[in-house]
Structure formats: C-alpha cells, structure tokens
C-alpha cells in the first residue's frame, strides 16, 4: 500500500522537532508575557507538545518507520542522525515522561517563580534526550548530550531560594562538567585512533586502529565514563543522589527516567554499532567486561545504599542507581554468543517500564512535597488513610520497582534475568536476584509506612491536586496494563534491538 502522504525524510525526526518547537513556543509566550504565572497555559503548551511528540513517535512505530521490512530506517544528514525503531522507542519513553512531568508540574509549581523558564528548559532538555535517541555520530551524541545536560543543571537548581536545590544543581554541574570533559576527550581519542566520528564509519575503520589499541581502549573507557555519568552508573553516579534529592521532585522524576533512558540509548547505539564485539575483542578491548563490572557494582551499591535510607526521596534516588545497574545488563549481555537482541531488548523494555513506575514514584514524592508531609519514611506513615488512591498507585510503583509479578517491572526484570543467564553471565544473574531481594526490603518498607503504620503527628486533610493525580494514576495504570500489552512492547523492543546489534 502506498503511503497516504510522502513526507520529507527529515520529518522522520518529527518527535524531536515537535519538542524543540514547543520549547520555542514557550519562549515566545514568555517573551510576550514575561514572568507569566498563567500555569494552565504553560503546562498546557508543554504537555500538548510532549503528547504530540509521543503521538507522532507511536504513529511512526505503528506505521513501520524503522522497520527494515516496511518503511526502513532513515539516515539523516549523512548518517549523523538515524531514525530507526530503537530511536523511536526511546523517543516514546522521553515524550511520555515529559508529558507526565509537565502535567504534574502544574500543581507542583504553584506559586513558584520562573514558570515559563521551567517548562521551556524542560522541553529543551527533552529535545536533547530525544536527539540522543537518534544520534548516530559521536558529534551528534555529544551535542545532544550537552543539550540535555545544560538545561538539566538549571532545572535542578530552579528552586533558587532553596539551598538544597541550588547546592544540588551546582554539584550536578561540577560532576557533569568533569564527566563531559572525560567524554569529549574519549571522543577525540576514538577519532584519533579511527579517523571517524560517524558510528558505522568507526566500525568499518577499526582494523586501522589495531596499532593503537591502548589509545582506542582509553577512548572507549572514557566514552563508557560519559555514558555512566548520564545513566547514573557507578562510579559516575555521585551526582545522582544529591541531584535527585535536592531537585524539585518532578525534575527528579524527569532526570531519573527520561535522562537515564536517553543515556542508555546512546550507550546501546554507540557500543552496538561502532564497536562490534568480535572486532574489538581481537584488538583486545573487551568492553562487555567493563559493563559486566559496572552492572554488578552499580546495582549492588545502589541497592545497598538505598536499603537503610531514612529519606524517601534519597532512597528512590539510590534505587534509581540500582536500576541503572539492571539496565546495564543489556550491554553486559552482548557477548556475541547469546541471543543479543533479547538481552538488549530486555534492557529497553526495562527502561520503558521504568519510565512509568519510577516517574510515578517520584511524582508521588512530588505530591507529598506538595502536601508538605515531610521527607522521611516516618512522615509518610498512614498516608493511605487520607489518600488511598495515590497510596495504592505508590504501592503499585514500589512493587513493580521491586519486580513483583503482576506488574510490568517483573516482566522486564525477568527478561533481563533470562538474558543474563543466556549470555552465560551467572554472576550478573545472581547479583540481579540478590539485589532484587534486597530492594524488596526497602520498597516494602515504604508500603508498610503508607498502609500499616499510624501517623506520628496529626495531619490536616489533604487536597487532591488534579494534575499530580492525573499523572500518578496514569503512570500506575500504565504500570499495570503494560502487562497484557507486553507482547507487542516486547516484540517492538526485541525487533529494535535486533536491528542494532550485529
């Protein structure tokens, strides 16, 4: 069947362009009416933009863009950007998280200054993340990464009168600067060894780099460092607990879900495309080993540090580090022997599900901050009596994060586990199981606080902010219904992964 309208090839980037355009529209809005406090208009514009981006991305997936057997992938600007299924998959993740965070911010930023700046920065960061999904050259990777990072620093620090927020922003910025420096140095070394920036071109010219295995290896490890920073993996994770805790909760949600997913997509693409495992192994650069180590250490440190936190937001921040470790299995499992597409697809699924459950969990924190109930587990005691709906949603998020069967989180984790076992990474599989067991402890601690414990102090009745509730309930519903819909999701993810892995 001939397509209804033939679109220009760069319209394949529409999900990203829509986000960028929305950001600009917000700037125009703020130029016309500076210091506007018209929250509905601002949140409305950014939500509409995110949803439009989401809709287009989903439409493209359904219409078969990126599917080699249907519309095929789109190479843009001489292969600098590529729109394939994996790009679209992560564009969906970014867009959906942006939409949820925008809706939730409507209530959260009640009576805050810098409304328009907040939304436009968020949309620009989302644009960067969306571009990261499509970036196919180290140059575009770096530009997109910086486009995502720079607004993020400002967003973390946007509560200018809150010392925690400003401190977090500054720490995030400093670690970010250091990591970016390492990353860009890594890019230059890879360029020096191979003479190319474009990923496929790098892969084709690796033979020429055989004399420079140390140089290339250093570059590759530096690239790993850059990705580890973006995905909050050990040892580049130090910013994460601080930034997530200090930032306004919707921004924590945004960073820990969308930004992390975007970090993973470039890691997936760069390593799967530019550094084919066998060729690299011949040169003596076994990068899967690095990811095996990183995965184990990251999930262990993240979960262990989360276990005894008293502050709920900080607990979630560490759990987010732990989940980065789970998703790293997607790269660690690319041994070239097992079913690579399954393990990479599993990591993609995990990031999608994570986009819902983790965003939802942070938005619940946002709700708690909105209510002003406090930060520790004790402060959350007995919330279920006053806000049963939100607490039920939070319970779903917690159990899904822990990987309890009826929820989406179980399935993605299960696929990761089987993927790890298939790839022969028994150590990783064991670490995954042990850490999941441990994570159940601290997740259920929160559930216990919500439902079982009696409140320490009497609370006034709690309001029900519409925006936050809509976002939380949506996330909860998606966490649950992703299970029956898991077949198509899994197929898409595995197909997308199969197209990327050699």
């Amino acid at each position: 069947m001939a397509p209804l309208i033939e679109l220009h090839s760069w319209s394949a980037l529409a999900p990203t362009l829509i986000l960028a355009l929305t950001g600009l529209v917000l700037f125009v809005f703020d130029s016309i009416d500076p210091r506007s406090t018209n929250r509905s208009a601002l949140a409305g514009i950014s939500t509409a933009g995110a949803l439009a981006s989401l809709g287009v991305a989903v439409w493209y997936i359904v219409a078969g863009v990126g599917d080699p057997t249907r519309r095929g992938t789109f190479d843009l600007f001489g292969g600098q950007l590529i729109v394939d299924q994996m790009a679209l998959f992560f564009m969906v993740v970014v867009a959906v998280v942006t939409a949820m965070v925008s809706i939730a911010s409507y209530d959260y930023f009640l009576e805050h200054a810098y409304q328009a700046e907040y939304y436009s920065l968020m949309l620009l960061a989302a644009t960067g993340m969306s571009t990261m999904a499509a970036a196919n050259s180290l140059v575009t990777v770096f530009i997109a990464l910086e486009l995502a990072s720079l607004p993020s620093f400002a967003l973390v620090a946007i509560l200018k009168t809150n010392r925690g927020s400003v401190e977090a922003g500054l720490k995030y910025f400093l670690i970010g600067a250091l990591s970016s420096a390492i990353f860009v140095y890594g890019i230059s070394l890879v360029y020096g060894a191979t003479g190319y920036m474009q990923l496929e071109a790098i892969a084709q010219n690796l033979e020429g780099a055989e004399g420079f295995s140390g140089l290339l290896g250093l570059g590759v490890v530096m690239l790993i460092g850059g990705f580890a920073y973006k995905t909050a993996s050990v040892p580049f994770h130090f910013w994460a607990p601080e930034a997530y805790e200090g930032a306004p909760a919707p921004i924590s949600a945004f960073l820990s879900s969308a930004s992390k997913a975007a970090g993973f997509v470039i890691a997936f693409r760069v390593f799967a495309t530019a550094f084919p495992i066998e060729t690299m192994a011949d040169i003596g650069i076994d990068w899967t080993l690095a990811f095996v180590i990183l995965a184990i250490v990251t999930m262990t440190i993240g979960n262990f540090a989360a276990a005894t936190q008293e502050n709920v937001k900080r607990m979630l921040a560490y759990s987010s580090v732990g989940h980065a470790g789970y998703a790293l299995i997607g790269l660690a499992g690319l041994t070239g022997t097992g079913s690579n597409d399954v393990v990479l697809g599993a990591a993609m699924m995990h990031l999608l599900v994570y986009g819902f459950m983790n965003t939802g969990a942070f938005l619940f924190i946002a709700l708690a901050e909105y209510w002003g109930v406090g930060r520790t587990f004790e402060d959350y005691n007995g919330l279920a009596k006053q806000a049963p709906m939100a607490s039920a949603a939070m319970t779903i998020f917690m159990f899904s994060l822990a990987g309890i069967p009826p929820f989406g989180g179980f399935f993605s984790k299960y696929f990761l586990l089987t993927g790890a076992i298939d790839a022969g990474l028994l150590v990783v599989a064991v670490a995954l199981v042990v850490n999941s067991a441990l994570s159940l402890y601290y997740y259920s601690r929160l559930v216990k606080a919500l439902w079982i414990e009696e409140p320490v102090v009497e609370r006034d009745s709690l309001t029900q902010p519409t925006g936050l509730y809509v976002a939380i309930i949506f996330a909860a519903v998606m966490t649950v219904v992703i299970l029956p819909g898991f077949g198509p999701v899994a197929d898409t993810a595995i197909e997308a992964a199969a197209a990327v892995v050699p």
Partner: protein, 670 residues
C-alpha cells in the same frame, strides 16, 4: 451464520458474569442476585442444547482459543473441546445448576437466610468452574478449573461459617481433595514432560502420543512405556479419587453435608464429585492403554460401591444416607469405566446426576417440611402431607435402587453387565463385580429404609404432623427431575435392544460418534484399545438376562427387607441389633480416625521438625544475610560524603580502576 461453537465460551462465561453481578450488586437486586444466576444458567442451558444439537449434526469442535505460555517444547493454552461427551455433560451440568438455582429461591430466600449475595455469587462461580472444566480441551486447563471447583465447594460447604461444624467440614473437604489433587498435579507435570502435550483430542494429544509410545516400545524415564502410562494415569487418578470421593479419600464427602442442601445437590449430582469421574471418561483413551490402571479403577470403584453402601445402612440423618449413596454410586461409575464400559459409566453418570439431584432437592424439600430437622427418626408420614415431594422422591429412590424401569436400573445394570462379561474371562474382575453386585442389595435396602422412615408410617414428631408448606420454586425442579429420573433410561435401553434387536441404544451411538465425534474419542476406539477379553454365559443375551435378573433381584430383596422392617406405622431402629457391626458402620470403619491419626500422629511431628529446621537454620541464614546487608548498607551510604571534591576524586579513581582492569585484561600495556 454464527455457529453454536462461536458462542461456546459463553456457556461458561454466563455464570461467571452472574458471579460478578451477584457479588457486586447482589444486595440491591431482588432475591439477592438469584435471578442473575437463574438467567445465566438458563442461558448456559440453551447454549448447551444448541451445542448438543450441533454436535449431533456431525460437527464436533476442538479449538485452541488462547495460548498463554509458550515454551520450547510445549505451549499451554486455553481451548474448547466439544464432542459428544462434553456436550452431553454441559447440558447435564447447566440443567442441574439451573434447577438448583430455582430451588434455592424456595430453600434459601424463602427461609430468610443471610449472606445470600455471597451464596449466589459462589453458586455462579461454581457453575462457571464446572462448565469450563467440562469443555476444557487440555489437562492443565482441566486441572485449573478442577481446583476452582474445589475452591468453590470449599466456600459453599462452609457457607454457614459461623457454626462450628461447617468451617471444619469445608476445611476437611478442601484438604482431602487437595491431597488427591497433589498427585493429579504431579501427574499433569509428568504427562506434559513425557509427551509434550496436554491436549485431550486431536493428533497432538497425549493419549495418542501414549499409544504411539507403547506401540513403538519406547522407554520413558527408565520404565517401559506402558508402565509409565500406568504411573502417570494413577497419579491423575489421585485427583479423581479425591474429588469423586472414592476409597480411601471419601471421608470428606459425608461431612460436606454441612453445606446447604442445594449445594449438596449441586456438588453430588453435577459438579464437584462428578468432575472426577468425568475426568476419567474424558481421558479414557489414556487409561485404555493401561490394563493395570483400569483394573485399579475397577477395584477401587467396586470396593467403594459396596463399602459406602454398607455405611449408608445405619445412618439416621437423611442427608448422610444420601451422602453415602453418592459415594457408592460413583463407585459403580468407576467400576463401569474400569472394566472398559465407557458407555455404561457415562450413562450412569448422567442418570445419577438426575436422580441424585432429585433426591437431594427432595431431601431439601423434606427439610423445609420438617422445619430444618434432618433426623429420619423424627419424620414419618409425610407421604400424604406433601404428595409432590413424596412421589418425586420415590421416583428418585427407585432409580437409585435400580428398580426397573427407572433410569438407574438401566445404567447400573449395564455397568454390572460390562463387569460381568469382563470378569468371566478375567476372574480377577469377578471379585469387583461381586462387590458391586452385593452393593446393589445394600443400596436397595438403605434407599427404601430412607423412604419409609421419611414418608411412611405415622408422624413421629410435631414437626412431622404439621409440616411447613413448600412453594412452586421447590416443586418445579422436583417434578422436572422426577420425570427425568423415570425416563432418562430410554436413551440407552441396551437390554431391550439386545432382546428385540431394535437399534435403541442411542447413547451408545452418540458416544460412538454415529452422529459425529472427534477421531479417536469414540466408544469404538476406546473399546478396541481396552485390552480385556469378554466372555459370556452361553450367549450374550443369556448373560445379560442373568446379570439383570441378579441385580434386579438383589435390589428388590433389599427394598423388600426394608419394606418389611420399616414400612410399619411405628418403626423401630432394627440396626441396633447388629451390635458391634453397627458401631463399626456408624463409625464409618474408623476411616476418619486413621486419617486423623495420619495427620496428627505422623504429619504434625514431621511438620514441626521441618518448622524447627526452617526457623533455626533457614531463617537463621536469612536473618544473617539481612543483617549483613543492612550493615553493609550503612557502610556504603557513607561513601556519599556530600563534599563534591571527594566525589570528583572517587569518580576519577573508579574510572582509573576500570581502565586498569580493562587494560590488563586486554593487554594494552604490553
């Protein structure tokens, strides 16, 4: 045009919908949701009849609807198998369920019970489970709904959960049947692992696979194929013995009388207990491969038939008598199936469904009449006060006792005939036959003892002198079933057919696929597979006449003895003359006692020991792990100092460590 099969799932889904509706809206509905159940089961009945007609038109149906798990070797799915057997059973189940729902209007609603919403919801779920079990096309799906049936009967037996006995009976029913189901589950796994399929029918079915394995002389799991089939068959049989209350797992059933009588009717006639025997019939092609399994089925059946009948003789509670008669009758069905009499077994299953539902509903009517009194010695003389109840009950009793021409005679006779002809060649089976035959005498006796004590003679209490009236919702089901108990036998008048040469064994033709069936699931196919030779006394007709005469004579003798002892104005408890035998019988051969001993004397100490191990060793390890984890957590937490220069330092150190590891591994520094 839409075929009946497209609507087939709705047969089970209607009662499920009724369950949901009754559960959610029951309190706001007239009659607390009874009508939802009535309409749902009526709908199921109509659809079942349509399906029956379509199957009769030569169109069986075997479709896989939804595959819910796919593995490398095997996939698990839900599917529907509609062949003559399941179509017939669907009609029976939905009919009985409908009648029970209607009867409940009189028995539960009119008596002002509380918790009716729960009652009707559970009835709906019960019906749903059974219907889905019946049309299941594979063993695993059957197992799931088998369990759901067990759960529902647990809920319904314990309906009056505020009493002391009902919850205990419910627990017992659940535990005892679960014990059997445990073997069933192992059997399911074994079959799945051996043959890679759990389907009942088609070329990819496990009976076919088993047959092929035996023919090829394969060795499975270190056994030759036939032994392995026997082992797996017997494992599945564990579930059957539990559910169908066969010796030695029959002990739950008499206690289950604690549930409402309507529930007993449903459990005994069409659902829970029938499920076991139905399962044997469903996978008969599998059992037919194993003479050993068949003989065990036959012996268990024959023994249970006699064993339960003897206990029924001394009971005073009307429902207890019926309970033991149920056990006994299912014994006959097992006997019939065990000797290869597939048609006879199914025929008796059908007839029994009608007359046992009738008897239980009749007993329910009696209980209403008697202001909730169940002791037969406090009844008497109800014959004239409630003629409808009497005549319908009598019809059921005659069928149960096996008196010509009531339905029970034809089917029981066929069971015994099949046992006899097999027994004539394999003398071992003669013992099973003999037990069944003697059971007939006891059946006749206790049945009529019950009838006479209840309805005849003078009223012995005030309640019996002034019975509570019964309404139409009680009478209609009784009349429908009463007629069926009388005439249902005509579907397979084998003896008359043999005498006159007329082709009137319709059920046999039906099950033999003359009107359409699925390849391999026919009586013929089974009959060929069953490895028993058959012999006759003289000719077939003579054998048949001898067998029929014997059983009818014994039944009449039993009934006659009851007549002489109890059909007097003021009967006395003659069984007391039996002395120690009576004590033995009234104590149910001390079956409960030894099972309780098994539970308390053997299992409990074992469980305690396991618990101690669990608490001490396992939990100790777990607790140790968790405290180590928490300690480690406190330590790891401290890495995050809050000083950003420390972070930068650690970050770079971590990076260098990674670099060194990779470099050493890859040999960059060489």
């Amino acid at each position: 045009m839409a075929t009946a099969f497209e609507f087939a799932p709705a047969i089970a889904l209607f009662p499920l919908a009724a369950f949901v509706i009754a559960l959610v809206f029951g309190d706001y509905m007239p009659k607390k949701g009874a009508f939802a159940g009535i309409f749902a089961t009526a709908g199921s009945l109509l659809l079942s009849l349509w399906v029956l007609a379509t199957v009769a038109g030569g169109e069986p149906y075997n479709e896989q609807l939804y595959q819910w798990a796919i593995g490398d070797q095997i996939g698990f799915h839900f599917g529907i198998l509609l062949d003559p057997l399941s179509a017939l059973m669907l009609v029976i189940v939905s009919l009985i369920a409908l009648l029970v729902h209607i009867f409940s209007l009189g028995y539960m609603n009119a008596e002002g019970e509380t918790g009716l919403r729960r009652y009707y919801a559970e009835l709906g779920l019960f019906t749903f489970s059974m219907l889905a079990f019946v049309f299941a096309d594979n063993l695993l799906m059957a197992f799931m709904f088998f369990e759901l049936v067990g759960l529902c009967s647990y809920l319904l037996i314990g309906f009056w959960f505020r009493t002391e006995s009902a919850p205990s009976a419910a627990k017992k029913a659940f535990l005892v049947t679960r014990f059997g189901d445990y073997f069933f589950l192992v059997g399911v796994v074994a079959i799945a692992a051996t043959f890679g399929t759990l389907s009942f029918a088609g070329t990819e079915s496990f009976p076919t696979a088993a047959e092929a394995a035996i023919d090829n002389g394969e060795t499975l799991f270190g056994f030759d194929a036939e032994t392995w089939v026997t082992i797996t068959g017997l494992l599945v049989l564990g579930g059957v013995i539990g559910k169908s209350a066969q010796f030695p797992l029959h002990t739950w059933l008499p206690d289950a009388m604690e549930g409402p009588t309507t529930v007993s009717a449903l459990i005994h006639a069409a659902t829970m207990v029938a499920a076991g025997v139905y399962l044997v019939a469903r996978m008969f092609g599998f059992y037919a491969q194993s003479p050993t399994a068949l003989s065990i089925i036959a012996f268990v059946g024959g023994f249970t038939a006699l064993f339960a009948a003897t206990m029924g003789v001394v009971k005073d509670d009307i429902k207890q008598v019926l309970a033991y008669s149920t056990i006994s009758q299912y014994g006959y069905m097992m006997l019939g199936l065990g000797v290869g009499g597939y048609v006879a077994g199914v025929f008796h299953l059908m007839n029994h469904a009608f007359f046992k539902a009738l008897l239980f509903l009749g007993a329910g009517a009696v209980i209403i009449l008697m202001h909730h009194e169940q002791d037969m010695w406090k009844m008497g003389g109800l014959k004239d006060k409630a003629p409808v109840a009497y005549y319908t009950f009598l019809s059921g009793a005659l069928a149960l006792a096996g008196i010509v021409p009531f339905s029970g005679f034809w089917s029981k006779d066929e069971v015994l005939f099949d046992a006899l002809i097999v027994g004539l060649e394999q003398p071992l089976f003669l013992a099973a036959y003999a037990m069944g035959l003697i059971g007939v005498f006891f059946t006749g006796f206790y049945t009529f003892r019950m009838v006479f004590l209840t309805f005849h003679g003078e009223p012995r209490t005030d309640a019996a002198r002034d019975p509570h009236p019964i309404g139409w919702s009680v009478k209609v089901p009784l009349i429908v079933l009463g007629v069926l108990a009388l005439v249902a036998g005509v579907v397979n008048l084998a003896p008359i057919g043999k005498l006159t040469g007329a082709e009137i064994t319709f059920l046999e033709f039906w099950l033999d696929g003359e009107y359409g069936a699925i390849e391999g699931l026919t009586y013929h196919a089974y009959h060929e597979a069953v490895p028993f030779a058959e012999g006759y006394i003289g000719t077939e007709t003579v054998t048949m006449l001898v067998g029929a005469g014997l059983s009818l004579g014994l039944a009449l003798a039993g009934a006659g003895l009851a007549y002489s002892l109890y059909n007097v104005p003021e009967p006395v408890p003659h069984t007391e003359k039996l002395g120690s035998v009576r004590t033995l019988l009234r104590s149910n051969y001390y079956q409960d006692e030894y099972q309780v001993w098994l539970a308390e004397g053997l299992t409990l100490p074992l469980a305690r020991a396991a618990d101690r191990f669990d608490q001490g060793v396992i939990d100790g390890v777990v607790n140790g792990v968790s405290s180590v984890s928490l300690f480690g957590s406190g330590w790891i937490k401290r890495i995050q100092t809050g000083v950003v220069t420390n972070y930068a330092a650690l970050l770079v150190l971590g990076f260098i460590a990674l670099l060194v590891v990779l470099g050493l591994h890859g040999g960059w520094f060489a």
